[in-house]
Symmetry: none
Subunit: 237 residues, 4 copies
Amino acid sequence: MSSPITLCSIAATVRAKHARRKEARPGELLAAALDLFVEKGFAATRAEEVAKRAGVSKGTLFLYFSSKEELFKAVVRENISGRYPEWNAKLEAFQGNTADLVRLFMRQWWADVGDSRVSGISKLMMSEASNFPELAAFYQQEVIDPGSALIRRILQRGIDLGEFGPIDMQYGVYTILAPMLFLATWKHSFGTCSDASTRLVPEDYINVQVETILNGLCVRPPPASSPSQNPQRKLAS
Amino acid sequence: MSSPITLCSIAATVRAKHARRKEARPGELLAAALDLFVEKGFAATRAEEVAKRAGVSKGTLFLYFSSKEELFKAVVRENISGRYPEWNAKLEAFQGNTADLVRLFMRQWWADVGDSRVSGISKLMMSEASNFPELAAFYQQEVIDPGSALIRRILQRGIDLGEFGPIDMQYGVYTILAPMLFLATWKHSFGTCSDASTRLVPEDYINVQVETILNGLCVRPPPASSPSQNPQRKLAS
Amino acid sequence: MSSPITLCSIAATVRAKHARRKEARPGELLAAALDLFVEKGFAATRAEEVAKRAGVSKGTLFLYFSSKEELFKAVVRENISGRYPEWNAKLEAFQGNTADLVRLFMRQWWADVGDSRVSGISKLMMSEASNFPELAAFYQQEVIDPGSALIRRILQRGIDLGEFGPIDMQYGVYTILAPMLFLATWKHSFGTCSDASTRLVPEDYINVQVETILNGLCVRPPPASSPSQNPQRKLAS
Amino acid sequence: MSSPITLCSIAATVRAKHARRKEARPGELLAAALDLFVEKGFAATRAEEVAKRAGVSKGTLFLYFSSKEELFKAVVRENISGRYPEWNAKLEAFQGNTADLVRLFMRQWWADVGDSRVSGISKLMMSEASNFPELAAFYQQEVIDPGSALIRRILQRGIDLGEFGPIDMQYGVYTILAPMLFLATWKHSFGTCSDASTRLVPEDYINVQVETILNGLCVRPPPASSPSQNPQRKLAS
DNA sequence: CATGAATGAGCTTTCATTCAT
DNA sequence: GATGAATGAAAGCTCATTCAT
């Protein structure tokens, strides 16, 4: 029974298995690379470790990505999946006042993005943007700009409905963007190594940030006709 | 007139010239190191290149700083930690209301730190903290903790004087810290490569941030007995 | 007949050739390292030279041994520690009187260790122990202690059988150890450069030492019922 | 009063002081170098540390010794002061039996040489002989050979008086030499780092060695007409 | 003479990349 | 296609030696 046919079918099976794995390879490598790039940064991530985590050999990594730089670029491109349509839809459908919309947006962002591996990409881009300018431009176009537009529409809604005062649109966006990107960056830098006493609880951080953004630090006379908008504000300890 | 005095002064000159080099070295090395650390990050900066830029050989660098980590620490002390006494003194001496103190603080920070190469250190630490835990701990101790304490005192002043409402101290600090560190990080990442149209003007960014922090986005009835505290707020464009 | 077997055997051959190199490497490296350590000492032996002598590159050395210290330890294990079981077995199996066992032991040591490059390791450790405390501790544990134990068992055997008088065990061991280690040290120091007239013939040295250790220099009345145990003692010239 | 005369006399005083120190310099350097070479070996001893211990600058060391090798050679040559005439005289004058002479000699050697810094020279030569062959030859001529001759005369005395049996003279010498040189070498190698439990007490070591050399390990019928020659022999523990 | 700042070759170790199998 | 053994260019740091002062 050691006929050529048997050999062929063995080979076919092997080839099929290979092919199946082959198609999965890049994805497995990219996932492993994302984890490691986020955790250690670009320079400190060793190619061999990426390969090992993806379950392949070092040589195979270079079969799919001609260099570590190409791998990095692929990781970033791969992970910029637009969740924007979904968010835009939610924004359109929202019925309540805009302050609550801002609260919802920031908390949702943390739950969907900040608290997931994807926030690592932000940290990564912040860290490596200057080493990969084309990638940075790409990221700006694909992620930062749409995100800014989304925030801008929220602000505009507040202004249009008379809830928010007048504000510079270009910089007003950062009012919301900065605390979020800072949180993502911090979580992956000092957040991994600072002692427990100074460790930041993201939900509490977000709550304090959003209430300050909305109402400011300065005392103000209680608004005439509105229920407490600030149930989450924590008292000074 | 070939008096001992003359002899002494010759010796003094000689010594002085010799000594002057020695005394100048650390400063030259620190300046070179700051440049390169900011430009390339900690890990990617080669000791030899620092030396070359300071106009000395590799060995000389290690004559003055026992390791690359010590060099970095010295850069931080020279450019950041060392300035806290001055900043604290300014805080003590300030006479106006706390809202103006916050405005002053953030604008001064931009002028002194953010707008200089020094802000690159913040970005660098955000990028590399997780890879150099000892450096991260040092930075937290020498920079983050005193900085947080300083901000906390500002907030407490506002509360004590009845200008600020109650706020959680731990997270309230980030209200001021986050926009500044975000700006520093942004400037050294996307700021170096984003096209002119989206480029951020730091002074305007700071102004919008500080007014939002103080007064919030939400409209409020004008306070009974105070003139507009917000002359800088730019109008929506 | 192009059966799977043929295919398999081709693969096997390929694998074997590949594997053979890999399996041969450690041995080649250990041999090269032994040579160089003995010739130049631990500190003065450069990793690159070991690699070159083994016919590989610097990097390859560190593929098999994680550091120069580990390389040295492996050399010691390969050449010394690893042989104790064999030596212990010989000791257990020995049937004759203990004086002859001591003679056998010292001559065998010379044949197996002293007369080979391995004795250079003893000299090397004597020279560099104080500079490499971790290596010294390792050597003490892996070589000195088991060696002392072995000698102690020989002495104890002599005492138990009534052949040897009572002796302090701790220092009695040096009675046998010192002449051997001295010989090894001498061979690799003055032995390499002293002129022929004063050159020491190890076998003769060993013979004189062992007879003196056994019977002393002092004359003694011939023991009642034993033939001369000392046929090798050379006469004074 | 700032006359040239004053200047000259100041200069003269300075020069005198300089001259006085200048003559002391080489000695101070050699003493410092001896300590360090013995403690750390040739390669591990840093020129700067020798200079510092001698109280001069690194540059000055190279003013007196053109290289580290020359310094090493000078250290060895400096420390080979013949104590042989004195020892020879003592040997001639000794009245007791030769066994006691051997005991005296070995204990005296320990007190005079082994226990002093000079024994470091032996260790040093053992360690570095192969790197400095001319020096090794010199040392052999100046130290080893006269020492051997002295021991040979002691042995010959024992033979001539009928106290010692016949023995090969060339190798018999090592019977006494080996334990002493081993002790010196061991003291400066493992002696500095082995744990307290295995630490060797030199006087006890010498005692056990000398009694074994004289009387051997093997039991013997008590000599008919001699008082116990072996009061120091320690009992097995 | 004496100094000590400066040098730079040299060391161990790491890791992206290659290529024979 | 896939492997992993092998490579060799760096990198941080040391220290004998030099030389301007």
